[in-house]
């Protein structure tokens, strides 16, 4: 498949999405979601002073992984 054919195939695939209406504007959060947020925020590991070094490590590893995937493809 040459570049033009690939492009045309891509346009065909994306056609239904071009007409999709994406909603915007304020969202009302459900009671259930707010309750779950409250639970997470009140967990002992989420109080001030907690060590979150692992979060930064995980975020860095994700970034490095995706950068590698992008380069390889």
């Amino acid at each position: 498949m040459d570049d033009d054919q690939e492009y045309e195939a891509l346009v065909r695939i994306l056609e239904p999405y071009r007409n999709m209406r994406i909603e915007t504007g304020p969202v009302v959060l459900s009671e259930d979601y707010l309750r779950m947020i409250e639970e997470v925020a009140s967990a002992p590991e989420n109080q001030s002073g907690a060590d979150k070094t692992w979060v930064e490590t995980a975020q860095r590893e994700f970034r490095e992984y995706f950068a590698r995937v992008a380069r390889e493809n």
Binding site: I22, E23, T24, G25, P26, V27, V28, L29, S30, D32, Y33, L34, M36, I37, E38, V40, A41, A43, E45, N46, Q47, S48, G49, A50, D51, K52, T53, W54, V55, E56, A58, Q59, F62, R63, E64, F66, A67
Partner: protein, 164 residues
């Protein structure tokens, strides 16, 4: 203070709940002196600074900081594979409203102030852009799934205890 998806990630209870993001949003108070300090700190660490798609002007003096703050302009620091947005705006909130509700987490040797989870989520709900809506739907589902798994673990543990 960290806000945005990166802020939410600080409340993740498992690595599976850490959302992939390339940018980190830092919400700064509308204070020119503080803004200037943030710029200089970024430069010292090897980040390039951008504002409105152009390199941040020189010199990075008080006059420039006052202009940026009065316009509530976004300054982006780019480097080390990271994008750090120094923002003066958080949808639905003023800096002084959310600062008292922050958590201060340790990352290595650094104390990192992070906005409360509820404030970050409420801000995304107020902004309501497609990417915010997508994030909220995904985050809600991830928390629900975590709850289901925990109930599963706890029920399996009590069965095991009854047997043993």
């Amino acid at each position: 203070m960290v806000i945005g998806v990166s802020g939410v990630n600080h409340y993740a209870q498992t690595a599976g709940l850490v959302f992939t993001t390339q940018d980190h949003d830092l919400f700064l108070p509308p204070d020119p002196a503080n803004e200037q300090r943030a710029w200089h700190a970024c430069r010292r660490e090897g980040f390039d600074l951008w504002c409105g798609g152009e390199p941040l002007g020189e010199p990075m003096d008080r006059v420039l900081a006052e202009q940026v703050v009065s316009r509530r302009a976004l300054v982006r620091a780019e480097g080390h594979g990271l994008l750090v947005d120094l923002t003066l705006v958080m949808a639905g909130f003023a800096f002084e409203d959310i600062w008292p509700r922050r958590r201060v987490f340790k990352v290595g040797e650094v104390n990192v102030p992070v906005a409360s989870l509820k404030d970050i989520v409420a801000s995304k709900a107020a902004a309501g852009r497609p990417k915010d809506r997508l994030f909220l739907a995904t985050h809600e589902e991830a928390l629900r799934e975590l709850g289901r798994r925990r109930r599963g673990w706890s029920s399996a543990a009590s069965k095991k205890n009854r047997r043993g």
